[in-house]
């Protein structure tokens, strides 16, 4: 650090600075940086702002265009009917996909939320720093980085080969994706519960499990909810694992296994590869539908977090 600083500290080895003699009685005016340094600073400020500007463009574009194109096709019929016989036909909607998403995300949440929260409870309250907890933490982190298509492949090899495609398989893959996210975020929230609260509970004679269920979890509930909602939003937006497990279908169905099920994301994916105007129009409306769902959950998560003032 000293090397580069010597160029800016006045009165350095040469008693000269920016071409001016520096000596006793040097005024603050002489401590201005050289023009080159100023230019460099200004240039970098510009570059940084440019980066921000460039990054903001996709956000604005995506929001605007999906809304504009989606609104054009989104109507009551779209929201309440399923795919027509073929992609070329006008009309119809993505109800089969919407229902599929609800069912599979609902099932996945039903499994991943309790197990995820319990695992986090273990990490914070019981395991803390022991070898098992460290292992679980590390591999949870690793799991969040596993490509979702691979999770789909796993569920295919482990379950679909035996039992066929279906909603349960899709839900299984979503649960695997959601669980590490929930574990990690819940862990962070549980750590914030003040020790005094727990001590008070123990002092009043409560057992540990009672403390967890009645005091710790409710206290961290807003934060946990935030994490869970973000995980749900993520699961609702997944496509690749569902291609391999639920397969996709034109039909509206509630059969949970043995029969392929669609999801909103799968329907949009098919629409994106379509040359037919009707199919593409439906894809945009479906994208708007999906975006709204995801945004609602994401924004709700933030609201819950900020309302209870749990900050990270």
């Amino acid at each position: 650090m000293s090397d580069s600083l010597s160029s800016i500290v006045p009165g350095g080895s040469q008693d000269r600075w920016a071409g001016r003699r520096v000596g006793p009685g040097v005024s603050l005016k002489d401590c201005r940086p050289t023009r080159r340094r100023v230019w460099r600073d200004r240039r970098n400020t510009f570059l940084v702002s440019l980066a921000v500007g460039i990054t903001m463009i996709p956000v604005v574009m995506i929001l605007y265009q999906i809304t504009a194109k989606g609104i054009a096709t989104m109507d009551w019929e779209f929201l309440t009917s399923s795919m027509p016989l073929s992609f070329r036909r006008e009309g119809g909607g993505f109800l089969n996909g919407l229902v599929g998403t609800f069912i599979m995300v609902g099932l996945a949440s039903a499994v991943s939320i309790p197990f995820g929260v319990l695992a986090a409870v273990y990490l914070v309250e019981y395991g803390k720093k022991n070898w098992l907890a460290k292992l679980i933490r590390f591999f949870s982190d690793v799991m969040t980085g596993v490509p979702s298509v691979f999770v789909g492949l796993f569920v295919y090899t482990a379950l679909v080969i035996e039992f066929g495609f279906g909603a349960l398989m899709g839900a299984a893959s979503l649960a695997i994706i959601m669980m590490p996210i929930i574990v990690r975020s819940t862990e962070e929230m549980l750590k914030l519960v003040p020790q005094e609260l727990k001590d008070a509970s123990y002092a009043l004679g409560a057992a540990k499990w009672q403390t967890v269920i009645k005091i710790i979890l409710p206290s961290a509930a807003p934060g946990i909810t935030t994490g869970v909602m973000l995980a749900v939003a993520r699961a609702a937006g997944e496509t690749a694992p569902l291609i391999l497990t639920a397969l996709g279908s034109y039909q509206l169905t509630a059969k949970l296994w043995g029969k392929p099920m669609s999801s909103l994301t799968l329907a949009i994916f098919d629409g994106a590869r379509n040359p037919f105007a009707a199919g593409q129009a439906r894809a945009w409306a479906g994208a708007l539908e999906l975006l709204i769902i995801v945004l609602v959950f994401t924004i709700a998560a933030r609201l819950v977090a900020s309302r209870s003032r749990i900050s990270r």
Binding site: L85, A110, P222, G248, T253, P260, N274, S308
Partner: protein, 383 residues
């Protein structure tokens, strides 16, 4: 430290929301399913693409009751879907699911016995027939349904009716002609200002009967193509962007300026793509259409098993790249109800379905060929 009031609210809200989601989902699906699927039993699961939906409504019961599954070519898919829809409307107790996964996939599924019928634009090779007959325990029947044209759809603004000849076409797909304003292309299109744009070739990324028809034609007209690439459902394309299914290729041509790709006729017309005019063996430049497709099927010798090619036909007004498409069935099947339904559907489609076929640009079979096909259908029976 002030003891905080525990916030049970958000957690309860979340649980409530999820419950509602789950309930709404199941309820909606329950209602939906009851209306959509009058027939009992779900479809067989196969490792293949999306299933066609049923249009069936309630109504009086019909004598035919069955649930059929088919898979295969995307080439005739638009037509089969219409045929299925119409037939189901008249026979509400019949459900037919057709999945467009490409001819190769169709033959595979058919051989694996996961579908009741397959569909392919490439007739099964001898080895494939032997394998299928061993698997199904019965003879394999090729039922031709329609003729379709493989057109070259391209994306060049303002240029209609681009003319191409076989040699130039092969060169484009070999990657030797790379620019639209190449001398050879310009020579075929006098008076048209071709842009100085690179040619983007588009081909199929999946195993396809359409590819088989197209590459078979190229192998016939270009010895260079026959030597380097050859024909088949899947080939090693020297250049080009891949599209999944006929609709995928059409989509890519739509998206990519300056591109050219091969698709079945109705995909091009329905997607608003311009088609190239090809020079046929007689030397005439032919616009792809229903008439020129039918003209290609005239004067062809039909072998007994009805596996034939109508590629590069000699007819004066024949469009050069035409192929038949077949439905693959076993001569004997186990389920009597399925046999009846299948025979009824196929017979109906070959007779009453010709109007729909023509509307979509597929050429119906000639009377002679139709008689042969109907005879084959008749011979389907139970074990």
């Amino acid at each position: 430290m002030i003891v905080k009031k525990t916030h049970k609210g958000p957690a309860a809200v979340l649980v409530l929301v999820l419950l509602v989601i789950g309930l709404v989902g199941v309820a909606a699906a329950g209602c939906g399913e009851a209306a959509d699927l009058p027939a009992a039993g779900g479809s067989d699961t196969t490792a293949s693409g999306t299933a066609a939906t049923t249009a069936g409504s309630g109504g009086q019961s019909a004598p035919l009751t069955a649930s059929l599954n088919g898979a295969g070519a995307t080439f005739p898919e638009p037509l089969y879907i219409e045929w299925i829809g119409e037939f189901q409307a008249a026979n509400p107790e019949v459900t037919i699911n057709y999945q467009g996964i490409g001819s190769g996939g169709g033959i595979e599924q058919f051989t694996k016995l996961t579908v009741d019928f397959g569909a392919s634009d490439a007739p099964m090779k001898d080895e494939e027939v032997t394998a299928a007959e061993a698997a199904g325990g019965a003879k394999v029947l090729h039922i031709p349904t329609v003729f379709g044209a493989v057109v070259l759809a391209y994306n060049l603004e303002g240029i209609e009716g681009l003319k191409l000849d076989p040699g130039t076409l092969a060169a484009i797909f070999l990657g030797t002609i790379t620019s639209w304003n190449d001398a050879k292309v310009a020579a075929l299109n006098p008076g048209v200002t071709l842009p100085d744009k690179p040619i983007q070739v588009v081909h199929r990324s999946d195993s396809s009967g359409t590819t088989s028809i197209f590459t078979g034609y190229l192998a016939q007209v270009s010895s260079e193509w026959a030597d380097t690439v050859g024909g088949g459902k899947e080939v090693q394309w020297p250049v080009g962007i891949g599209g999944q299914g006929n609709d995928g290729v059409a989509a890519v041509v739509q998206q990519q300026a300056g591109s050219i790709g091969y698709v079945e006729l109705s995909y091009a017309t329905e997607s608003g793509l311009t088609m190239a005019t090809l020079q046929n063996q007689a030397g005439n430049f032919i616009i792809p259409s229903l008439e020129s497709t039918s003209a290609a099927a005239v004067g062809v010798e039909f072998p007994e098993d009805l596996r034939f090619s109508v590629s590069n036909s000699t007819g004066e007004q024949a469009y050069p790249i035409v192929g038949a498409t077949w439905i693959l069935v076993y001569e004997k099947m186990k389920d009597a109800a399925k046999v009846d339904a299948l025979k009824a559907w196929l017979t109906w489609s070959l007779n009453e379905g010709t109007a729909i076929a023509e509307e979509l640009g597929y050429a119906p079979l000639s009377e002679e060929l139709k008689a042969l096909a109907l005879a084959k259908i008749e011979s389907i029976s139970t074990f």
